[in-house]
Symmetry: C2
Subunit: 275 residues, 2 copies
Amino acid sequence: MVWFTEYQTENVGLTIRAKEVKTIKSKYQEIIVLDTQEFGKVLVLDGAIQTTEKDEFMYHEMLVHPALVKHPNPQRVLIIGGGDGGSVREALKHKTVEEVHLCEIDEEVIFVSEKYFPSISSKLRDPKVKIFIEDGNHFLEERKNYYDVIIMDSSDPIGPAEVLFQEKFYKKVKESLKENGIMVAQTESPFLQEEYFKNAVKEIKKVFKYVGIYTGFVPTYPAGMWSYTIASDDINVLENVNEEKLEEIETRYLDKELYKSLFAIPKFVKELVNE
Amino acid sequence: MVWFTEYQTENVGLTIRAKEVKTIKSKYQEIIVLDTQEFGKVLVLDGAIQTTEKDEFMYHEMLVHPALVKHPNPQRVLIIGGGDGGSVREALKHKTVEEVHLCEIDEEVIFVSEKYFPSISSKLRDPKVKIFIEDGNHFLEERKNYYDVIIMDSSDPIGPAEVLFQEKFYKKVKESLKENGIMVAQTESPFLQEEYFKNAVKEIKKVFKYVGIYTGFVPTYPAGMWSYTIASDDINVLENVNEEKLEEIETRYLDKELYKSLFAIPKFVKELVNE
């Protein structure tokens, strides 16, 4: 037994007991797989927990479904990052979806997920899925006016993912969306990563006409409190539409009732981005 | 600098860097006060974090305001536990409230809070407040049909607070409520303390006609995810009423919009208590 600690800031950490620890060095980062009692298998990239078998559904459902529900007819979906496959799995639950492109910079993450996280990576080889091992930033330049929904399932805005949180990048995302296109991004913790959160939202607001921020529980992420930002130039993402779509989808976190209250978030979080 | 770790279960802990640590032994428990960079002062009872200067508002607002808003005219309020004073402070924000009784078993908690947590304990000596150093269980027996709202601000259901989570106790709470009385209790984390949560809700449902469960973020509590159970025999607490009262109250977490969505909680949490 060993204890693995993620220092979420200089002054606070989440410490988890592990039965087994595997370390893999990829071209981009250090990948650790923990086998734990509490959370099942845990995927760690450069010291930061990305996903655990026990609570990944909370993150992946909240990241993926609101955008796919709000879009009137999502057919072609792009996921940037998300090599573990959880977002792909959720996106494929929507019957209108014909194609899911996954653009992941580090193919080792995909291999590790397929080997150690079968419940998360289960749909990566679905015939509707196409995997591109590429830098998300360059990838978009070749695909203008192409996607109905783009999902930013990135790691923290330090290291390889830093560029994915900047205005310049969100502009590319916008250009790659078709008419009625919707983007959604994970935008960090509004509590322990206040500055990352505020900055991501600020940059997204520079680019898109309609922007909505929502929060959700993810126990193994900093503060257990996560934020997501959904945006579009054509669709008012703040409107509460198509909720009946959620009846056709199997979920454990997001149901119709929670979806209808998506933007009912703690007051201090709203104040952080309305300053 | 030292690191303090709360082991939330055998297999997971929250670890916080502290500049200073004070330990006080009371008749009932070990009280620790940490001075930290991340959360300001932190109050720890028998190893479990009770409150921190930075995130206490999330817990205290969610525990106190929904019951006081739903009650048509709350005048006399009882808080059981809550020696830090945070719930007293919130209850006094409601203009109809004429009297707040605080029943805390361990007076040392009150002394410690008054010394180290001025922003939390600030209203403990308000003329409307009466402090009773007593066992909540016995206290209620002498006050039948007496309170408009009873708030269970207890520690975990191990040690001194165990009896406060049982049917027998909730029956006493009910007998001490006046007509239209409402009770609310903190009912632990639905993620890392699933059994405590399920059990508390089960016992409350045995006693009260109307029972509602809601959740909220508290970053320094297990999983960052907390539950509250509100109950009444006369008032349908699931109904969304009197929201305008929240306009008169200064809050940082709960606003009208969030209040209207109080029971829109993660699907898996609902399923835990509907089994």
